[in-house]
């Protein structure tokens, strides 16, 4: 199982029946592959759709039905469409139960930076700031480290996405919870020890007596 699959499978376990879920681009998009249809989760695409389905068969795409990246998607029976003010009313108003986003850094107090590297990458924040400010539960799905450097840092030095802390971070090495404003190691990835996680984590983590392995 590669790093992305570990992350996506573990995040999928966080979704509850009937949840309204918004998945960001990149690893978060993969989460949908591991969610059972029995769960009856609603996926929102912030460009104006609830009820996104899989990529349509070739020749069945419609140019007016795309995801937030402009790629063709399908709509499941019971889907609905709406304008952008409504879409972000749903997001900001706390109607989205779970959002899953990528990250550049998450710090010890749960602050996320994921939209800008000053002097280098300034694409714009798109919907990320609203999602982190408004969704009931914010889950960050990202690699634990990039080029050997921990992405779980003491304090973000990149511009924050929101002053509101995230709920959970799922990486290829660990699950870290941010309840009560402190970072707690909840699980490790299969075959990864607590010591290995601590060695590549810059932020201090609270470590309970028992840290189980992810069940994937």
């Amino acid at each position: 199982m590669d790093a992305q699959e570990i992350i996506a499978r573990r995040v999928a376990q966080e979704l509850r029946p009937g949840n309204l879920v918004n998945l960001g681009i990149g690893i978060p998009t993969l989460v949908a592959n591991y969610v059972s249809p029995d769960l009856k989760v609603f996926f929102q695409s912030e460009n104006g759709l609830i009820g996104t389905g899989p990529i349509p068969e070739q020749g069945m795409e419609h140019p007016l039905l795309t995801d937030a990246g402009g790629r063709p998607i399908s709509a499941l029976p019971g889907a609905c469409t709406f304008d952008s003010a409504m879409s972000f009313g749903l997001i900001r108003g706390g109607h989205v139960d779970v959002t899953v986003l990528g990250g550049l850094q998450v710090d010890a107090s749960g602050h996320l930076a994921n939209w800008m590297i000053p002097g280098k990458m300034v694409p714009g924040m798109g919907g990320a700031m609203d999602l982190v400010s408004g969704a009931k539960r914010v889950i960050v799905a990202m690699q634990h480290a990039a080029k050997g450097k921990s992405k779980i840092v003491k304090q973000c030095n990149l511009p924050l996405t929101s002053a509101r802390p995230v709920s959970l971070v799922v990486t290829d090495m660990a699950v870290i919870d941010f309840a009560d404003g402190k970072a707690t190691l909840l699980e490790t990835a299969p075959g990864i020890s607590v010591g290995e996680v601590m060695a590549v984590t810059e932020a201090e983590l609270a470590v309970p007596d028992k840290v189980p392995e992810m069940r994937l």
């Binding site: 695409s45 912030e46 460009n47 104006g48 759709l49 419609h62 140019p63 007016l64 039905l65 795309t66 937030a68 990246g69 402009g70 709509a75 469409t81 709406f82 304008d83 952008s84 003010a85 879409s87 972000f88 009313g89 997001i91 900001r92 800008m116 990458m121 300034v122 694409p123 714009g124 924040m125 798109g126 919907g127 990320a128 700031m129 609203d130 400010s133 408004g134 511009p159 924050l160 996405t161 929101s162 002053a163």
Partner: protein, 217 residues
């Protein structure tokens, strides 16, 4: 509402105009109007659009032709030309959160003074903005946004100007159709009055100033 040709419609837009353009990554964008804006070389535009699309698509065409001087958007990461023009200071770019973008335009169209949003509090977005506490919680005061022209794409338009949208091409079109002095519309289908059921009209006819005749494009 008046039915006009592409040429007539775009001829009304002066150089230096502020224009809102519907669409999200080019989906729901009035492509024919943008092609004509490029053909008539309308320059120094203040563009208000969710994103910069991609080169050759949607508002991306305006960056290909270097017609934009100011851009208010939420994301331009998928258009390298727009990024280059921003970094070269050819285009002054104001990047704002997408929900704030939608709500500021809605406020402009609905006669509200602005928006009180939690989004952006405690981030770079808050710089230079008023922060207002309501019941002990901080909100940013984001001002209303309007333009001289809105270029809107609908799925159905009837002879009166009622509009309905299809799937994810609705996006910013309905709020923009309320927030500009002059609203110009292209539609995939122009249909007789009554074909769109009253409950399915999204943009009421009185909001629409001009519809581009389909024979013309």
């Amino acid at each position: 509402m008046k039915a006009v040709s592409l040429e007539e419609a775009v001829a009304m837009i002066p150089d230096g105009a502020s224009i809102m353009v519907g669409g999200f990554m080019g989906v729901g964008t009035p492509e024919r109007l943008l092609d004509e804006v490029v053909r008539q070389k309308k320059s120094d535009l203040s563009l208000i659009c969710n994103d910069a699309a991609t080169p050759g698509k949607g508002v991306g065409k305006l960056f290909d032709a270097t017609l934009v001087s100011r851009l208010t958007a939420t994301h331009i990461g998928l258009n390298p030309k727009a990024q280059q023009q921003m970094l070269a200071n050819q285009v002054a770019v104001d990047l704002i959160p997408q929900g704030t973008f939608a709500e500021r335009i809605r406020a402009g169209g609905c006669g509200l003074g602005g928006v009180l949003t939690p989004t952006g509090v405690g981030t770079l977005v808050a710089e230079g903005k008023r922060q207002i506490e309501v019941n002990g919680k901080p909100f940013l005061l984001e001002t209303a946004l309007r333009a001289q022209f809105a270029l809107v794409h609908a799925f159905l338009a009837d002879y009166l100007g009622n509009l309905a949208y299809a799937l994810t091409s609705r996006n910013f079109n309905p709020v923009m159709a309320m927030a500009a002095d002059t609203v110009i519309v292209t539609a995939e289908h122009i249909v007789p009055v009554g074909v769109i059921a009253p409950d399915h009209v999204v943009t009421p006819a009185p909001l629409v100033d001009y519809i581009i005749m389909n024979s013309n494009g």
